[in-house]
Structures are given as C-alpha cells and as structure tokens.
C-alpha cells in the first residue's frame, strides 16, 4: 500500500460555504449555512433524512445551484462554475457506475476527460488500491454491492480531487461490511490526505470516522465539533438525542452559584456545573447519558457532587450483549434509562425492583432549548 499511497499525493483543499441558502419550489432546504472545512480533514455532515445534508453536498459538487451564498474551494469562488469544472469528485449513494463500461473504463473515465497521461495504468493502480485489480474487465452489474462501492470510491479517488464528497456511500451495505468499509475509508483518507466531506445519517459512522462532525437539522447546523465534544456536551435537545441517547430532565433553576446551578424536578434536585450549561436561569433541560448513570437497590446516602433521584421501579430490562439496558419509572420524573456494562456481575435485579438512580454532577449537561413536549422524558434513538 505504501507504494500506491505515494502515487496519490495529498492535495486536499479547504472548503468554505458562506451564507448558503437553497430554496426549492415549496420549501427551503438550507436556511443559512456557514461552514469551513480545513484542508485534509475528514468532515461529517450528520442529520436525519430531509435535513439538507445531501442538498449541501450537491451544491458543493455543482449539481444544484444555491439560491444565495458563495462556495469556495481552496479559496477560489466556484459558485457559478459547472460540475465538470470543479476539482471535486463524488462517491454517489447509488454509486452511479456506468453500466455500459467495464470497471476499468469506469475508473479511467475522469482521467480521460481531463486528458491525463496514461489513464489506464493509473486506473489499474487505483483499482489495486481498493483490492479490485482482478475484476477490472468485469461489468459493474457483475460485482457485489461492496465491490461496486469500492469501484465508485476508486473512480473518485483516482482523479486526486481537492475535495472528495461521500453521499452515504455505505448505506446499502450490510452491517459487517459497512464496519469494514468504514475502517478502510478512514485508512485511505489518512493515507492520501484528501479533504473528505461525508454525508450520513448514521451517528456511529460519523463519530467513528470524522475529525469534525456537524449535526444538521431542518436546513441548519445545530452544533459542530469533534465527536467527543458533541457527545459529551450536546447543546440542544436534537443533538443530545441524535448523537447517542440521553435522559433529559426539565425544571426551574432554584440554586445558582459560580461553579454550579441546580434545578428542581418534582422535588428532586439535579445539579449541573455552570460551565456545562447553556442556559443559567428560568426553566432549563438537564441531561445525562444512560451509561454515566447507576442505580442502587438501597437508598445511598446523599453526597455532594452526585445527583440522586428516586426511588423508582424497573419496568423493562434489555440484554444487548455488551450491556444491560434498564428502563426505570420514577414518579414525578418519568422514565430514565440506565446502561450497566456486562462485566459478568451485573446487579441482581428483576422487573419491579425499587431502585435509586445516581450520577456524578460533572456528567450532567445543560441544554439551551427544551424538549418538544416540555415534560421530562427519556429519549432514545435506536
């Protein structure tokens, strides 16, 4: 691989979107998008279907035109250029391999259009990079989904674009192959050093592969940052529920000091460090990740630095292999989810057991908006 990697010289360029707005007849796909992706970064746009992420990708590729705003690649304004004039290549969700050409001709297509010297040799090298050299003469229809995906990747990579766009390219693969492809894709990106813009609705995929994740919702970016930061400190209800699972509690701020604030949820006091809360007054939502919470069958003694709520009743237990997932109904608060890692001595509990739930104050996070129904709720996204 090292030899091949040298042939794919790093030429990543940065991408800048300035005040992008995209309207379609009847709806606005993108509200007002500002985004900067540094050269050589693996950037993921994460969001549910219809959030505008694929539209963003198509605008960058030049397949659609923005209603307003500017697109700059490597500092050059490309807003009004046609797709074939942009130093960008796309791995399409449908792969869009040309069915009337062999795999090799597919990969060589872009090189031939730009009159690059020796396109066939370069195409073969690219196919070898994705371990498909032996299938060069086949038609795309004769390959499996995973192989087609790699051909699409080779067809884009061989052009050494400044920016590689990936439109949910792993969506059609089964789970095991998808995991493998995620690892390969990340490895290739590190090797070739290109700028990758990856659009996906799979939060695990985004967190696993990207240097920076932007969570998109309803045509806007809700929050952007490293996967660790987004997971640890979500700013909005949407991010807290789209990236992993969260237990959210809504209450009035009753105590406030420079280091922490506390809210009152039906008589239970829940504390969050001030610098981990977006809002510090009025009614706010405070959350905790299910794996950060523990439950106890006997009431623990209250101690500072620990949030304690309960008692409640276990109403559901799910075994998922790596963990047990407990659903606990606490009167006045609602349902709380707790994950207990399966380390061979999980708490001996059964349905209906009376338990208390606790977590460290520094694991709480305060959001800047409230859940839609405003009641305390446990949100889980499967």
């Amino acid at each position: 691989m090292a030899r091949l990697a040298q042939e794919f010289i790093a030429r990543g360029a940065d991408l800048e979107l300035v005040g992008i707005r995209k309207e379609f007849p009847g709806f606005t796909a993108i509200e007002n998008l500002d985004l900067h992706i540094p050269a050589g970064e693996f950037f993921a746009l994460l969001g549910p279907s219809g959030c505008g992420k694929t539209t963003t990708l198509r605008l960058v590729a030049g397949l659609d035109e923005p209603t307003k705003g500017k697109i700059l690649i490597g500092g050059k304004d490309v807003t009004s250029t046609k797709p074939h004039e942009r130093p960008v290549n796309t791995v399409f969700q449908s792969y869009a391999l040309f069915p009337h050409m062999s795999v090799l001709e597919n990969v060589a297509f872009g090189l031939k259009q730009r009159k690059i010297e020796d396109p066939m040799a370069k195409a073969i090298a690219a196919l070898e990079l994705v371990e498909l050299g032996h299938l060069a003469q086949r038609r795309p229809q004769q390959l499996s989904g995973g192989q087609q995906q790699r051909v699409a990747l080779a067809r884009a990579l061989v052009n050494r674009p400044s920016l590689l766009l990936l439109d949910e390219p792993l969506g059609a693969l089964d789970l095991k192959l998808r995991r493998q492809m995620q690892i390969e894709l990340k490895a290739i990106q590190m090797e070739v050093g290109l700028t990758f813009l990856h659009v996906t609705h799979d939060q695990e995929e985004a967190m696993d592969m990207a240097d920076t994740v932007a969570v998109m919702n309803k045509g806007r970016i809700e929050q952007m940052g490293s996967p660790e930061k987004l997971y640890d400190r979500p700013h909005t209800v949407f991010v807290s529920k789209f990236l992993g699972q969260s237990n959210l509690f809504v209450g009035e701020v009753v105590e406030s000091n420079p280091s922490s604030i506390s809210i009152n949820v039906s008589g239970n006091k829940i504390t969050v460090p001030t610098d981990r809360a977006e809002k510090h007054t009025g009614t706010i939502a405070v959350g905790v990740r299910p794996e950060k919470a523990n439950f106890h069958e006997t009431e623990p003694t209250a101690q500072s630095g620990v949030n304690l709520i309960g008692p409640g009743e276990i109403i559901d237990i799910r075994f998922t292999g790596v963990s047990n997932q407990y659903l606990i109904e606490i009167p006045g608060i609602g349902e709380v989810t707790v994950f207990a890692q399966n380390i061979g001595k999980s708490p001996v509990t059964e349905l209906g057991a009376k338990v208390w739930v606790s977590w460290k104050v520094e694991h709480s996070f305060g959001l800047n908006d409230l859940p839609a129904n405003s009641a305390t709720e446990s949100i889980s996204v499967i």
């Binding site: 590729a61 449908s94 009337h100 297509f109 192989q147």
Partner: protein
C-alpha cells in the same frame, strides 16, 4: 494491507440455475394457433410469390397469362429496368429515417427525461405524438398535398422569397416525398426512443459531469450508448416500412413520375399491367435486401437478439 480483509470476496458470478428444460406438450399446444396462422397466411403466400416471380409468359399473348418456369433472369431484368426506383426506395428510406431520428430524439428526450417531474405534460405530449394515428394515414398525406399544392399560399410564399423559382413547385419532388415519409413515420421513431429515455438513470449523467465530462461528452459517452437499443429499434421500425412504402411517393399523393419507389412499381405492375412475375420479383428483392440490411445493421450494433 488495508483491503486484504475482503480482497477475495469476488465470487460474484451469479450462478443462474438452469430453468427446467422439460418441453411439455402444453407449450406446443400453445404455439399451435400461431404456427397454423403463420403457415397459412405468411408462408403460403411467400412461396406463391417466389414461384410467381420465376414465371414466364405462356405464349398466348393475353394480358396476365403466365406459365410456370424458372426464369431467374426475371431478377436481373427488374434490377436493370427499375434501378432508379430501387435506389429511390433505399435512398429516401435512409434520408427519412435519419431525419426522423434527428427530430424524434430531442423530442423523446424532452418527454422522457426533462418532463419526468411533470407527468401531466408527459402524458399530454405522448398523446400528441400518437394523435395523428386518429386520422387516416391517407387523409393526412392528402392534407399535406393540399397544403403544398402548386397554387397554395405556402408555395407562393416560398416563390416570393426566392427559395423556389417562379416555376418550381413542391409536389412531385423528392423533397416532398421524403418530407411525407419522415412526417408519417415520426411516431414509430419517437415511441421506442421515449420508452428507453424514460428509463434513463439521470444520476449517471450527474456522475459524468462530476467526472469532468462536458454536457456534450456526457451525451456522447453515456446517454447515447445507453439509449442505443431505442435508436436501433426506432430506426428499424421506420426504415423497413418506409422502404416498402408506396403512398407518399405515388402521383396521387406527394410524389410524381420521377419519385416512384419500388412500391409504386409493384402496385402498377400488379394492378394495372398484370405483370405478375415482375411485380413478384421486385417484392422478393425488396424483402431480401431489407432482410440483409437489417441483419448487417443489427449485427454491427451488437443486438443480434433483435432478429
């Protein structure tokens, strides 16, 4: 090696299980009506036609009296005698087919690709394409003769702007015949083109643009090859009937004595002069040449399965 994990997962030769080859009597039974029909109404007249084409005058001198013979020279005679008409048939058919293709392709592309998001417009335009079929073929051709008759406004106008000379007319010219042929066969070209363009995956065109191909190159390298089957069936559906057409080139319609095609000779030999061997020989010749041309064309286009 990052890809070693599934480098050898390439066993994708879809092993199609062979369909049971049990030839049942039911299949034969189902084919029977068709076979009987073909035998009676295609094979018998065809043999009769070939036999007639080899007949010789029976010596009585009466019109339409011929005796069985084996006059292969009949074929040589018709080729020398009717060479202009034979060349008209294939020349006009070639030009009209190309003209129909050039007109129909953009039309079919618009209906099948551009109008895809507007099913109402799509349906309306398709209806318009086949609308001429609601009126008799003869009537429509006759209407064109009226529109371009010698004292029509259209011809007078063309004479005034000096496209036509003061004593030039349109009816009876090869141009008018080819015009009529093109017009009458456009739907046969448009419909097969539409049916393949309607299924064209436009995402492939986006991929072409993404891979640095200009719109023109994308059309040439992607759209055209992918729609080739439609072009082939469209051209065959137009060329074959045009080569045998006799209405447009007839003096009663758009043609004149100088534009006669094989069909016109066959018509007058059969129905007016009762010269059955000549008419039959021309018919068989026409059929044979078309068959050869189509076989060659289909082979060149790599679609032998059309035959």
């Amino acid at each position: 090696m990052a890809f070693a994990a599934f480098g050898h997962g390439g066993g994708s030769g879809a092993a199609s299980t062979a369909a049971p080859t049990k030839k049942s009597k039911v299949a034969l039974f189902l084919l029977l009506p068709g076979l009987i029909y073909l035998g009676l109404f295609f094979l018998t007249p065809l043999i009769s036609l070939i036999v007639t084409s080899l007949e010789v005058p029976d010596g009585s001198g009466a019109m339409g009296s011929y005796a069985y013979g084996f006059a292969i020279e009949n074929y040589g005679k018709v080729v020398t005698e009717f060479w202009p008409q034979i060349s008209h048939s294939f020349g006009y058919a070639l030009i009209a087919t190309i003209a129909a293709l050039l007109i129909s392709y953009p039309l079919a592309y618009f209906i099948g690709v551009k109008a895809r998001r507007f099913p109402l417009i799509q349906g309306l335009m398709l209806t318009l394409v086949i609308a001429p079929f609601f009126i008799s073929f003869l009537l429509r051709t006759f209407a064109w003769k009226q529109i371009f008759s010698n004292d029509s406004a259209a011809v007078t106008f063309l004479q005034q702007i000096h496209i036509l000379g003061p004593h030039d007319y349109l009816v009876g010219t090869p141009f008018m015949v080819i015009f009529g042929l093109t017009y009458n066969f456009i739907p046969f070209m448009t419909l097969p083109l539409y049916s393949i363009l309607e299924r064209l995956d436009v995402r492939l065109l986006e991929a072409g643009a993404d891979l640095y191909a200009t719109p023109a190159t994308t059309f040439r390298k992607i759209t055209l090859p992918l729609t080739a089957p439609g072009i082939i069936s469209g051209t065959l559906l137009t060329f074959i009937p045009i080569a045998g057409d006799y209405v447009n080139a007839s003096g009663d319609f758009l043609g004149g004595t100088k534009t006669a095609m094989i069909g016109n000779v066959v018509e007058s030999r059969f129905l007016v002069l009762n010269d059955y061997p000549t008419a039959s020989a021309l018919s068989v010749l026409l059929m044979g040449v078309i068959l050869l041309l189509v076989a060659f064309y289909a082979k060149r286009s790599g679609t032998e399965d059309l035959l």
